[in-house]
């Protein structure tokens, strides 16, 4: 009740740049609440972003923040974590940023299991650059580069992350801010690479081209397609086509990269004496 966001935001930068009704603000609040519940100091948290609408977030939050090049947020974040393993690194990224342009960084960060929490805000389009088709645009839906409907099959962020070896994988939508917060907190607690996908609304670029130009219409469109994980287990793949299964998919432990690296350094030092 009445969470005090003031210590965590840069008030002079507000109101934020995002379009009215955009889900990124909801995600930003969830991240702030999750960090607050972890009890971490602001100086110990680093928020890194690439390019896109989501990447404007580090400008508004009062952590250590870094705004990097397109798709390379995870590469920069890996550097931060490597140099300062005691800091907590969070990466916010859009679907195009994380899965298309930064796709390679994404799978290899999952493979290494480095202790970073990646939050992929999936709005199903490239919002900032003019509504181009992204790897998660649903089939049949229009984008500025697919004016007659998308013909490409799309990525499932969750399955991609599981396949590549992430140790915490979850998905929520903008309609469930409390669930989002809980998943981000679990991701922060996880010692390893955590991927949290948040399905959001881009009514300006995605919605407007698909007769859903109102934020509420698109939010309801997402809500209709939400399926809880325990319900989805009894459903066939055909029934799950075009649905967003929400919940926690993977929670496991695997050796963490910076710890393994430190062990290797110790071993080599010992051997050289």
């Amino acid at each position: 009740m009445a969470f005090n966001y003031k210590p965590y935001i840069r008030e002079d930068k507000f109101p934020n740049i995002w379009c009215p009704g955009c889900g990124i603000g909801i995600l930003m609040k969830a991240i702030i609440r999750a960090v607050h519940k972890m009890g971490w100091k602001r100086e110990d948290v680093a928020l890194v972003s690439g390019i896109g609408c989501t990447s404007r977030m580090p400008g508004y939050v009062n952590f250590n923040t870094l705004h990097t090049t397109h798709g390379r947020a995870l590469a920069f974040a890996t550097g931060i974590k490597h140099a300062r393993p005691d800091k907590h690194v969070i990466v916010v990224s859009g679907d195009g940023d994380a899965l298309a342009i930064g796709g390679n960084h994404f799978i290899h960060a999952c493979r290494r299991n480095i202790d970073i929490t990646l939050i992929v805000l999936n709005n199903m389009i490239y919002g900032m650059t003019g509504g181009q088709v992204s790897p998660t645009t649903p089939a049949g839906y229009r984008a500025s580069t697919m004016p007659y409907g998308n013909v490409e099959p799309n990525f499932d962020t969750v399955n991609l992350a599981i396949g590549a070896g992430a140790t915490y994988v979850a998905r929520s939508t903008v309609n469930n801010p409390a669930l989002m917060e809980r998943q981000i907190k679990e991701g922060l607690q996880n010692k390893g690479f955590s991927v949290i996908e948040v399905v959001s609304n881009c009514h300006i670029q995605f919605g407007r081209r698909n007769k859903m130009g109102d934020q509420l219409v698109l939010r309801h469109w997402i809500k209709e397609r939400e399926v809880p994980l325990r319900k989805a287990k009894d459903m066939s793949p055909e029934e799950l086509e075009g649905k967003f299964v929400i919940g926690t998919f993977v929670k496991k432990t695997r050796p963490e990269y910076t710890e393994e690296y430190a062990k290797m350094v110790e071993r080599v030092k010992g051997a050289s004496k």
């Binding site: 109101p15 934020n16 930003m28």
Partner: protein
């Protein structure tokens, strides 16, 4: 004796509100509504229509992307003092 009903107070930051109507949409008891403000992007901002209906579910605060709405619980003793 029935437990006294909890009371709540909702604060709206009109400077930051963009009039996206999400809070009005998510409110289960229709506490909030929009009023015209032509200087804003969408031409309207949220206002508290009927605070007595508020159940303190916090959904409007959680769902506001612009940090513009806050729900506070009014402590019972404070209410007694104010009459």
């Amino acid at each position: 004796m029935a437990k006294p009903k909890k009371k709540f107070r909702i604060e709206v930051n009109e400077e930051w509100c963009k009039g996206c109507v999400i809070c009005v949409d998510v409110c289960p008891t229709n506490v909030l509504d929009m009023k015209d403000m032509l200087s804003k992007w969408e031409g309207m901002v949220v206002y508290v229509k009927d605070i007595d209906k508020c159940i303190g579910c916090d959904l409007c605060e959680l769902s506001c992307p612009d940090f513009a709405i806050e729900v506070y619980e009014v402590p019972q003793e404070e209410e007694a003092q104010s009459g």
